[in-house]
Subunit: 233 residues, 2 copies
DNA sequence: ACCTGAACACCGTTCAAGT
DNA sequence: ACCTGAACACCGTTCAAGT
């Protein structure tokens, strides 16, 4: 009955804002810097403390633990997602812009990938995005739970499409790798799978960035088409 | 020119199999146990060593580092994904079964979520799945790069839909939480977003598991419809 | 109200040394 | 060929103590 209730920064009373000393905002900003520069492993309470010329443990006065800090940083990045006003732009334009913007933000902050399966997105920025997306799908004509299903489908698509892209970028020393040896290695790994070999032999690896952008748009159109089809039947 | 080439377990010569002592398979199996029981943080080289009654550092003879071990465990789980023979089942049935099976496997091994954005899926099991999926889409009528786009769309959808589900499960003490307080807390967090409030007030949280399964299928049908539509235009 | 340092219980990985 | 232990350079978090 009592049960351990779910905890997240966003579900607790914020500590009273007081003037002096450090602030939560400052800490989150510094954490974001560290994350963007060095990735998820680059953020440690000790390093963050040093960056703010404070003891590592001082931070625990502002934040319950590291996960909470990550939740805050996480939501912060969602603030950069562009969502047009659905009333003006129409549902298809709105959701399409949203999807592209979401992908861009994820690519710009690749450490997000480590949080998607671990922390819920309940911050104000995440909610703003979700809210507008729901408006858009309602405007399209979805009702009841279908609004949720449509929304889950779209964000699902974006996450899933962008994650492998991030994984790829992260294992590739972005600057110095050479397309030929790369291709040779993958061909070897795929030796037993004829379909895969076919694919490797296309000039897939010449401009992967471009390729992925095209794939994203192709899929997005398909997903939106599929959703639209739901409306008429 | 020389360039640091991309490294992954799958792109290196396997160490010669020798009879005595521990084996790579044994180590991977033990790692999987630990991961399934305790999650991604439950696996440490020290604990794994202890489980095999070996020194933690002995494992480094079989495996270059922890990431490689994770790559091996990762691919192992993909072995459980069911993919029908496209020739027999047809492309729509094949891809649909694949998608559902992929989701099940991910839910059964939630620690996978932490690897999706970090490690590439180049193991034999992952390739088998990818290969069959390509067969299916070719059979459907896709050609050239469109085969890739369609595949990326489908797996993208599955990843993205299942990840938030995993995140949700992981932050919820699966056994003991009470739907009412949960709802109240979320309602508070969503106070400023009318659309979100609407949604919270539906009986969303009564049977989330069911709800997510329905959402998954709804979206999947939409995605496949959208892809199919590509074929006729 | 805020910050500190010491301390606890951990990590992954290297490497010289053993058999 | 395989395994070990000691050692290095780290972690997140607690907590009594300071101002």
């Amino acid at each position: 009955m009592t049960g351990k209730t779910y905890t997240s920064v966003w579900l607790r009373e914020p500590r009273k804002a007081t003037s002096p000393g450090r602030s939560r905002e400052e800490i989150v900003r510094a954490a974001l810097d560290l994350l963007d520069e060095e990735g998820i492993d680059g953020l440690s309470m000790r390093k963050l403390g040093a960056k703010l010329s404070a003891g590592a443990t001082s931070l625990y006065w502002y934040v319950a633990n590291k996960d909470e800090l990550l939740e805050l940083a996480y939501d912060e990045t969602w603030g950069a997602i562009i969502v047009p006003d659905p009333e003006e732009a129409g549902w298809r334009e709105t959701t399409s812009v949203l999807a592209h913007s979401m992908r861009q933000v994820m690519l710009r902050h690749p450490w997000i990938a480590n949080l998607l399966g671990r922390l819920p997105a309940l911050g104000p920025n995440a909610l703003r995005v979700a809210d507008r997306m729901r408006q858009a799908f309602k405007l399209a004509g979805f009702t009841g739970f279908d609004v949720d299903y449509a929304g889950a489908t779209l964000t699902g698509y974006v996450y899933g499409m962008t994650l492998p892209e991030i994984a790829w970028n992260s294992t590739m020393a972005a600057d110095d790798y050479d397309a030929d040896t790369m291709r040779a290695q993958v061909r070897k790994a795929a030796a037993d799978f004829p379909e895969m070999l076919d694919r490797v032999d296309m000039d897939t690896y010449e401009d992967p960035r471009m390729m992925r952008a095209v794939a994203f748009d192709f899929g997005l159109v398909s997903v939106l088409d599929g959703l639209e089809r739901r409306l008429v039947t």
